[in-house]
Amino acid sequence: MIEVQNLTKVYGQKTAVENVSFKIRNGRIYGLLGPNGAGKSTTMNIMTGCLSPTEGTVLINGYDICDQPIEAKRQIGYLPEQPPLFIDMTPAEYLTFVAEAKGVSDDLIDRQVKEAMQVTDILSVKDRLIRNLSKGYRQRVGIAQAVLGSPDIIILDEPTVGLDPQQLTEIRALVRKLGEKLTVIISSHILSEIAELCDHVIILSEGHVVADDDMAELEARMNPETTLRMTVKADEAGAGAVLKSIEGVNTVTKLSESEADGTVTLQVTTAPDTDLRDEIFFAMAERRYAVLSTETVEQSLEEIFLSLTAKKSKSEEVHD
């Protein structure tokens, strides 16, 4: 488990992260999400001991990264944004070097290197110089070095940046596979990637945590009411009156109206976890208003992200 407590990092005059706190529990895939410059890499670099915090602590399985760095670093495998590869070595040589550097005992090195190459599927290129490998394979070698030394937690900083669609799919599948056995923390600014891979998301904006929830809970929290968008062949006043007469309907808002077709598009909010589509349909039918379409509207992760990061910016402006 990782406990990040009140983390602050100041570079000269710029505060990169401020008072950031969260917990990482074992056996899940966590997404660290945020726009460029939100503080994701700074947070990860502090968690892995590459940077020292200005304030705050990071406990990794109970070890403080500042006070007990060697023990703390043994618990984690890290792939920085730019894979730390020595291009004059082959993957086999490089991984053997990393295993030795991580203090893996001599009798386990060969086995661990082979397992890491199997997991990341680089056995076929193990004897080629890293400088001759494609970006996708280099990324795999980077991930292989992270899993060496049997860490409990793998931290991957934007592992899919710059990959082509095929490589992207392969690396995501690999991350998913790692997540079956290990705790994985992955940073990204690609929302679909986080939505696809992660059980839990931490959203950073301008150096602050603006959301820290399970994916499902975050979506539920950001969608406190059920929202329907419907197009009805009726006038606005008539359709509105029908809708307001139905118990459970909170608000009715006109989105658009087409005089040529005689239709109106309305947004209807109802109490959470209620489905009033049947009632609305029959009520409209009684008045011979044809319901042309009805859809349930939910905020996507993208909308949640934009709304949270926009809120943060707005509050900063008000504060200023």
Binding site: C50, L51, S52, I70, P84, K102
Partner: protein, 288 residues
């Protein structure tokens, strides 16, 4: 540390750098031996090494330029910081790898006095002590250049800084004869030295406040002492130049057969001091 040592040594040996370094050093010492011992017929092998020290002016900075700067350039310094390993182990591993590359030609040099022995009497004790001091001299210069390599991510700048530093140490004894023995000359010399230190502080921190404080901390007390006791500055800077140059101590042994414990301590203190400074410089990245 052994993992880093093996990786670095492999990098030198799998690359033209290491072999070129050893070849040029052996070529230079071979030529000096031919000139001094075989052509002129002098039996003193230490004179050959004394002449060979000039090769270190370029060879050591080129050997060391990639040591730390390349990691900063390729961002592999972050990888080392994330490993469960002390920064001192990384720096020492790299230092020992460079020292090994330098030591290989020094071991080959041990054959030379035996070759000379075939032509006439040779003082083997002095010859082998000279080789040992040549190794220690190289160890001191490698530490200095490794530290300078840790101040930049540009290999060329690292090499240029290294050449300048080795040149200062190489020509310091000559400068000590050129600089007047007057108090004002010494004062100016110390101020220049203080400004050089401030320059290094700037390279290490990129912080103008730290640079200014370093310069002030060095220059202000100097000025106060100079005003209070001008006579104590007479001949002080030339003496310091003589004392701090590892080349001066090596040359004193090779040319005059004089060597003191003080000289040995000075030569050995170079690696200790500069490896320590390199560790601080590499660790500083964490606090940037």
């Amino acid at each position: 540390m052994s993992a880093v040592y093996k990786r670095e040594l492999r990098a030198y040996m799998n690359n033209v750098y290491g072999w070129l370094f050893m070849a040029i050093l052996l070529l230079f010492t071979g030529y000096m031996m031919f000139q001094n011992n075989l052509y002129d017929g002098a039996p003193e092998f230490e004179l050959t090494l004394s002449g060979s020290q000039y090769a270190l002016l370029l060879l050591i900075p080129i050997l060391c330029m990639r040591s730390m700067a390349e990691d900063r350039h390729n961002k592999t310094d972050m990888f080392y910081l994330s490993l469960p390993m002390k920064t001192s182990s990384v720096v020492l591993g790299k230092y020992l790898a460079m020292l090994t590359v330098y030591a290989i030609p020094c071991v080959i040099l041990c054959v030379y006095p035996l070759v000379l022995g075939a032509f006439g009497p040779v003082n083997y004790l002095v010859a082998y002590l000279a080789i040992l001091l040549f190794l220690i001299l190289g160890a001191a210069l490698i530490a200095v250049c490794q530290f300078l390599s840790s101040l930049t991510d540009n290999l060329v700048i690292a090499a240029v800084l290294g050449v300048l530093a080795v040149a200062v140490l190489l020509f310091a004894p000559w400068l000590s004869y050129v600089i007047p023995l007057t108090a004002i000359a010494s004062f100016i010399g110390f101020v220049v030295l203080a400004l050089l230190l401030a320059g290094i502080a700037f390279l290490a921190t990129h912080n103008l406040n730290v640079t200014a404080i370093t310069a002030a901390v060095a220059v202000v007390p100097l000025s106060v002492i100079y005003i209070l006791s001008r006579s104590s500055f007479e001949g002080l800077f030339p003496s310091l130049l003589q004392f701090i140059s590892p080349f001066a101590h090596f040359a004193a042994f090779c040319q005059f057969g004089t060597f003191s414990v003080q000289s040995l301590i000075l030569l050995l203190s170079y690696p200790v001091l500069f490896v320590f400074l390199t560790v601080q410089s590499a660790d500083k990245k964490r606090w940037d």
